[in-house]
Symmetry: C2
Subunit: 301 residues, 2 copies
């Protein structure tokens, strides 16, 4: 039983979810703050934690799981800052400094998807395996890994949404929407690409619409790439585009085609379907991950 | 100073290099054994170590860095065996059991490329960074990472040679040579693909030949994929196809095009050229890696 009161921040492009509590399962107070400019939003975040601390007692550690890209390089003078992000006004924002200055307690920080991966590994769809990737498919496409590796000792956190993929034969003309790459995975298969190409959300399209196979083709390649490079024991697919469950079988089918029997542990009946899984925590993974990052920071991990 | 005598095995598709010594820099005896059938080759390997032990004294640990794919899953009953490999006769061979039964000392085992990555990190082109990928481009294409992560807790070791890549516009017809995937990276850009497509080694082709840009295109995509998924602080490119150094600038140029400024730490002048580097240890990395695996096993890491 952990008796330390922790602060958890899930920083997203549309909202910051903040909570204080002993753990993700024992939350004392929680608030949702819309993501506006960084000064306005961070002031509201600080006010929430100051107020919650007066109510519940001193905060021992913070966990921050945020959208990125983030500078998480050990020893970097910009550690904890947002790098160039399409989110207007947020590039260069120091997300960790305000907590350091105001509280001076241990702070664990990672990307939102790394937090979700940690939460799924400890509490969700990864409980019976030893390593996971958590892939989110929404406005952006990204992935995090747990257990964390090369913490502070890597070039950048994973940015798998920007992988180039082989085009689907029925999707040759669409240029993609990524401002950096055009037709990387995120540029071809994220929410904005779906809406621009087909004029509506995937869920609104008939099951016979080619969009399903095209989405599956790109995401299946992404899954195959993660399996061949990092090779976690499970890959968990979350985010708004995945949320109704109808897309997952298309992704599994495409991943099977791309791997084509090469990865032996996936060749047993049903193994690949278990490998590419739905989240166990739904939209709770981000905040739960922030609590776990705070716990790790508090215990000196 | 390490006073334990260690055994090191670099298992390759054409030869097994075996040595005993205190470290890679202090080798007492070394032998090269051609890779024939597993029974013949492993008998010669065992005979070398038995004889060396009589000469130099008891072996305290072994390190094995071998071609794969290998079963390295913790708790697997087939741990240390080769999985399905195109190397005739070797599928299913137990590479670790003979050492366990004959010596009963600690054994560190990983892929040949993981061993090379470890050696480059500790002793070679990765000495001034904190994490590396070592990519070999020869008959096969593969990569290893160091420091090792998810040891024993992953689906399979990295198999980056089997990533699908976007085709080069002047290379649309060649079907590729991979028996599993046809035109994965290895099927398009490994030594056999070069010889089949252009009738000779890359080195024999004029600098104006399109082969250079085509090879660079595929390998640059591979490098970009590794940078976006695992994101080591340096990627070291070795193997026979890379050995004369003329291909590296083509790879760097293509990787820059694929990343297109997205990975900020690579945007400073010269950063990308330092990021994608030549090996520091040349063809010594494999055996040096095997010694380091033996040292880790001996010290209980």
């Amino acid at each position: 039983m952990n008796d330390a009161i922790l602060g958890a921040i899930e920083g997203g492009g549309t909202k910051f979810v903040c909570a204080v509590g002993f753990s993700a399962e024992r939350v004392l107070e929680r608030v949702v703050i819309p993501t506006e400019g960084p000064a306005t939003t961070l002031a509201a975040v600080m006010e929430f934690f100051s107020s919650a601390e007066r109510t519940h007692g001193p905060l021992r550690a913070f966990g921050i799981a945020s959208f990125g890209p983030l500078d998480l390089r050990g020893g970097s003078p910009a550690f904890g800052r947002l790098m160039n992000t399409p989110k207007a006004g947020w590039s260069g924002t120091d997300l960790i400094g305000v907590f350091r200055r105001r509280w001076g307690v241990p702070i664990g920080m990672d990307t939102d998807v790394a937090g979700a991966a940690l939460a799924e590994l400890k509490l969700g769809a990864g409980r019976n395996v030893r390593s996971v990737a958590y892939v989110t498919v929404g406005t952006g496409i990204g992935a995090g890994f747990a257990p964390a590796f090369w913490t502070g000792a890597r070039l950048l956190h994973p940015e798998v949404g920007h992988l180039r993929v082989r085009r689907h034969s029925e999707d040759g003309e669409f240029p993609g929407v990524c401002p950096f790459h055009g037709d990387c995975v995120e540029g071809l298969a994220g929410g904005p690409a779906i809406r621009l190409r087909w004029g509506q959300e995937l869920d609104a399209l008939d099951p016979s619409h080619p969009a399903w196979a095209i989405e599956g083709h790109y995401l299946g390649q992404l899954i195959a790439s993660i399996a061949l490079v990092a090779s976690p024991e499970r890959i968990i697919l979350g985010g708004g585009v995945m949320s109704n469950g109808r897309l997952l079988p298309h992704v599994q089918r495409a991943a099977r085609d791309f791997l084509n029997g090469y990865v032996e542990p996936l060749n047993d009946g049903g193994a690949l379907e278990r490998y590419i899984a739905s989240p166990g925590l739904g939209d709770q993974a981000g905040l739960a991950g922030a609590f776990l990052l705070a716990e790790q920071a508090n215990s000196g991990q």
